[in-house]
């Protein structure tokens, strides 16, 4: 009888394959990353313990701050624009009957296609001479733009076209980075729309019926019923889009340059910076690990911050 009370190893056998993979290829790398960032480590082998040197070097590296700023621009533009437009699309889709799934599919196509192919296509779309963008601009009588080759800020360009000069540091993201922003929004819009649509369909119709009886207008209904009830979805979309946008890489790698991250480094983002340090010329894996950890800390704190906000504003 006592034997039966012994540990049943059955469940562990079922978990083992997944556990091994996750321990070896997720947990171990993260621990390793932490350790490596404190050593002078390269692919040839372990170097000396250098403590926080990588981190202090990183914080003094202007390239790091520029990539952070560019990544920040990307997030600050992509997230709100994507969130608002996808909510609008989802609301519109939720209000129609015919062709609903057709439109849904059309918006969704960019989500399932590879970022590599999409980047190649958009790079040509933004080409100054043979690109679609300048061709369409010409049709409506607007001067051609530099797009991916333009290092000046969008606000600078905007005010310049109105004859106002503003200081360069207020110029905002370069037009090149803004081109990346456009592609990133376009790529993610379908996914966010689908998520929002699922959220909207979960709101019981009786709320709207009751509001109709009370004579509340559509706009009022949106802000009093839809917006509060959809807030969990909004937090999910906010969180996912922020995290994904922080990790933008393929667009930069394929669309910008040469050199990648150009013009004048205005499209260099944090993940490309990490990639370049780790696998580029310098091949400095420990420095790149330090960058990775900073990226992790930033994303983790944003996630936790949003989780806290979510609890506070949860209906």
């Amino acid at each position: 009888m006592k034997k039966k009370q012994k540990l049943d190893i059955g469940p562990y056998i079922y978990i083992l394959p997944a556990l091994i993979i996750i321990l070896v290829f997720r947990l171990l790398p993260i621990v390793l990353s932490f350790i490596v960032s404190f050593f002078d480590w390269s692919i040839t082998g372990v170097g000396d313990f250098i403590g926080f040197e990588n981190y202090s070097r990183l914080f003094q590296d202007p390239e790091f701050w520029q990539s952070m700023l560019n990544t920040f621009y990307l997030v600050i533009f992509v997230v709100p624009i994507s969130l608002i437009s996808s909510l609008i699309f989802a609301t519109l889709l939720n209000n129609i009957k015919a062709l609903k799934s057709f439109f849904r599919s059309v918006y969704f196509i960019p989500t399932v296609t590879s970022m590599v192919a999409i980047s190649i296509v958009w790079k040509i779309i933004f080409n100054q001479q043979t690109g679609l963008m300048n061709f369409l601009l010409a049709k409506i009588g607007i001067e051609p733009l530099g797009w991916l080759a333009e290092s000046r800020g969008i606000f600078l360009l905007l005010f310049e076209s109105m004859g106002i000069n503003i200081p360069t540091h207020l110029g905002g993201p370069s037009l090149a980075l803004f081109s990346i922003i456009i592609v990133t929004i376009w790529k993610g819009l379908g996914y966010n729309t689908i998520i929002y649509l699922a959220g909207l369909q979960n709101i019981p119709a009786v709320y709207y019926e009751a509001a109709d009886i009370d004579g509340a207008g559509k706009i009022k209904q949106f802000f009093k019923i839809t917006w509060p009830l959809i807030s969990p979805t909004t937090y999910y979309v906010l969180m996912m889009t922020t995290i994904v946008t922080f990790q933008v890489f393929s667009q930069i790698y394929l669309m910008t340059g040469p050199p990648i991250g150009g013009p004048l480094g205005t499209t260099k983002v944090i993940v490309y910076f990490l990639f370049d340090k780790g696998f580029g010329e310098s091949n400095d894996l420990s420095y790149a690990s330090a960058i990775a950890l900073i990226l992790f800390v930033v994303i983790l704190s944003l996630t936790l911050l949003q989780k806290r906000l979510e609890k506070k504003v949860h209906y």
Binding site: G10, Y14, V24, I30, A117, I195, A198, G199
Partner: protein, 325 residues
Amino acid sequence: MKFKNSIIYLVLIICGITMIIPFVWMVTTAVKSQLEVNKGNVGFIPYEEYPVYNDGEELFRVKIVSAETDSSYVNIFNEAGKIISSYKKVPNNSLTEHKKLKFHFENFVNAFNKVPFALYFRNTIIVSVSVVFGVIVTGSLAAYAFARMKFKGREFIFYLFISMMMVPQPVYLIPSYIVLNHLGWLDTYQALIIPWIANIFTIFLLRQQFKTIPQELFDAAAIDGCSRWGILWKIVLPLSKSVISTAAIFGFIGSWNSFMWPLVMIDNPNLRVLQVGLSYFSQEASTQTTLLMAASTFSILPLIVLFLIAQKQIISSFASSGLKE
């Protein structure tokens, strides 16, 4: 009401066009001739422009050899494309420019053969199919244990998994490179497959599904003498077909489209997957936009076809990824 509806449709159509236009332009550019593109034919119609000579009765396609102020020397072609008169002096007012639709479908073949795309497709299929298979196997096993078995450390391990899900790929890219290097797996299929055969989201998804299966079924099977393993095969998996196919679709799309990982882990050109091969091709052929567009078209085609076949399921799987637990 009708007016409101037509506005909604109008907005949706305009936005739909914006979403789809890059793909349309990709395909129309893919079938243009590079010469025309370089000359400035940027629009959506793959036409060809050529000078035509009018001798008063008939039109002939010509090639201008040299042009002077009011006359030109031309080679005149017949309909079969054979020169019937060379270096003929004709007045300029008898020459006009003609446009003709012409689709250069050979661009697809040329792009496909310019670099070994067949090999890239093969590698990608090997990797994606293996990953999907692995994800389903490890996921079903782990989810079954999490959902239906009591054991020490279950909660801890489960939360460990969930917290690992929060770690973004770029963060473990570098240390994974070091780990794979120590295993001697860099530049092998293993580097592309093994780290990806356990997917936490899949485990989570399957666990949710397995939990919904009524306990009575398990009890009945146990009374019949069915083992754990037998229950998994005879009851749990057959009842979870749709969630399993959802997980498979996710795994396939993710694996097919992954880029940064294979870019870092693979150096050997023979092991390049499609996305990496396409990326190298875009650097090699950067000026040949028509070939690039052709290559992009056939690279995304398999997933577009998959999407068109299973769009309902794909969209609802993605939608389910946003639902709260």
